[in-house]
Amino acid sequence: MSTPMPKTSFAEKLMAVPSRALYLVLAIVIIISVFLSRPLPNQPNPPAADFYTALMKMPADKVVAVQSDFTNSTRGESAGQLEALTRILVRRGIRFILYAGADPQAPTVATNIVERIIKEEKAVNPSLQYERNVHWVRVGNFTNLDNTARLFQTNFREAFRGREDNGVDVLGTPPFEGINTINDLGLYVNVTASSTLDVLIGRLQFTPTTYDGVPIRSKLMAMVTGVIGPEAVNYYKAQQLAGLVVGLNGTVELETLMGRGLEGSKEAASANNAVVIDGRPSVAKLEGNSVGRGSQYYFALHTAMGLLILAVIVGNVGTALQKSKRGGKR
């Protein structure tokens, strides 16, 4: 610029940082953190602990329905959640039914993840028996969840009539053995990045039960993105959800619980380095590696959120400086 600029104060410069510069700073910080990623500690919260407890206390011969409603657009959060869930199910030998109620692409995304995890688990433990159409079955997508979920409630089995997985009628596969009504399921887990959880909450109702002394008022559990988290916490608090994993932090919480187990008091935990949450039943850890996508991204999340906090502080300092120059009145 050739015209002589009026002298600008530091505060004014601070206030006039163009958006593009901010974008660039954020991008650089995240790129660097992605390369520098390292494990960080984490303190699990009750919703994730309930989620883990319910899954671990459920008898292994019960079947879990996994409704996976995310596509690659929320891979960052949801994929890590489904990976951790699959690891628990596979290692415990629990059978599950996989389907989606939102996007036609969701079943494919979920299937890819599940098959990759099973392959990884088999590489570590060659004697592992876990096969498609025997231990788990992929059903596909249900369009118009509003009405489908209603059908789940009135007649769960009927909703799956005519569905095939690799040319096999899904109703004939082992996961569907003895599953007639929605209450025959052990648990119903919704991995979601959209409002499908609201629909399920509004349509499904479970009979309360008890797994190994742990009361389960509703068999519905959810793994949601941080965005839906606060609303899902509302459902969790009203006991409409038996357990809840929220966002990346939730994934890390679950991974921590899988790696360390859970104890109800410090004394009990001193021997095995388990996570302590007062008054909780003791839950075993899962043998094997439990570090997943959650832990991989956790470091970058720290730097990014730290940067945001810094930016807000700088912005406010700038405003305060400007105000004091103008005599503090506007």
Partner: protein, 295 residues
């Protein structure tokens, strides 16, 4: 038939149906009453007063007004958003201001096309109506976001109205429109998106201010009556919550006896209290046959 029971009528389960029926009856009754009364009070909703100002700005600048009725399917939220946009369009039509209405659902597109052409027809300004101003952009969330952002940036819309069920794309729209200095009025029925609208938009309708909007703008007796009924329904919920809390408090006050238990090797005598499953409110709100309740 001996041990058969109906899940929605046995064991107090009918209470919930009766309650929702009572709420609906309240709304219907107040609609029919308000048809006979005039000048019912509605409190000020500042976001809605800003609509005319926003359109005025767009007229001065000669730039189009952009409206997005959320990204949900065809339900009450989209319909309500379109009702508000009918008002916006009417004002814009009078000022000969071009409009852009972008939708993500084909069924909503059909309704929007109908409502908007209707507005122009009723105003007698049919020559100003351009069917291409109502657009189906995409039915994929982020393709829609990319397309609408493109429209905002290229056409430099001066006023934007985002009302309805918005999800993640809310901030893409709001920030893009902010970057070109558009005046923005926004509302999302998704509570989770409201803080982002608060951060990036000029005026925001929170929660069910959105549902009150059409009554506020049109003062139509049916809508105002429904609004009064909704207020009474909310009062009913408040009363039930307060009453339930009081009953629960009374029932849980004091201990029922004492028991002796082993705690870390020591025997401790401590009081016992009523179990939550034995409370009156639990019986009403979680109706179940006696054998399940005793578990």
């Amino acid at each position: 038939m001996d041990n058969l029971y109906y899940t929605n009528y046995s064991y107090l389960a009918w209470v919930q149906i009766a309650f929702v029926m009572a709420l609906m009856a309240t709304i219907l009754v107040s609609i029919s009453i308000s048809k006979r009364r005039k000048n019912l009070y509605i409190r000020r909703i500042s976001g809605l007063n800003a609509i005319d100002e926003a359109i005025g700005r767009a007229t001065e600048m000669g730039k189009p007004v952009l409206m997005v009725p959320g990204i949900g399917g065809l339900d009450a939220i989209s319909v309500q958003a379109l009702n508000i946009f009918a008002y916006v369009t009417r004002t814009a039509a009078r000022f000969a201001n071009p409009i852009r209405l972008c939708v993500m659902d084909a069924a909503v597109y059909t309704v929007a096309q109908e409502i908007i052409s209707d507005v122009y027809r009723k105003e007698g300004l049919q020559e100003r109506y351009d069917p291409d101003s109502v657009r189906f952009v995409s039915d994929r969330q982020f393709a829609f976001a990319a397309g609408v952002s493109g429209i905002i940036l290229r056409e430099q819309t001066a006023a934007t109205f985002f009302m309805g069920a918005f999800f993640a794309e809310s901030l893409i729209f709001a920030e893009t429109a902010n970057s070109i200095g558009a005046i923005q009025v926004a509302s999302s029925t998704q509570t989770t998106q409201t803080p982002f609208f608060i951060a990036a938009c000029d005026y925001v309708l929170i929660g069910d201010e959105f549902y009150a909007a059409s009554a506020y703008l049109s003062r139509e007796p049916v809508l105002v009556g429904s609004l009064v009924g909704q207020d009474f329904a909310k009062l009913a919920i408040i009363s039930v919550v307060v009453l339930g809390s009081l009953v629960t408090t009374v029932q849980r006050r004091g201990s029922t006896g004492t028991e002796t238990v082993e705690v870390q090797g020591q025997s401790v005598t401590r009081p016992t209290f009523i179990k939550p499953s034995e409370l009156v409110m639990d019986k009403i709100f979680n109706p179940r046959p006696p054998e399940e309740a005793s578990k």
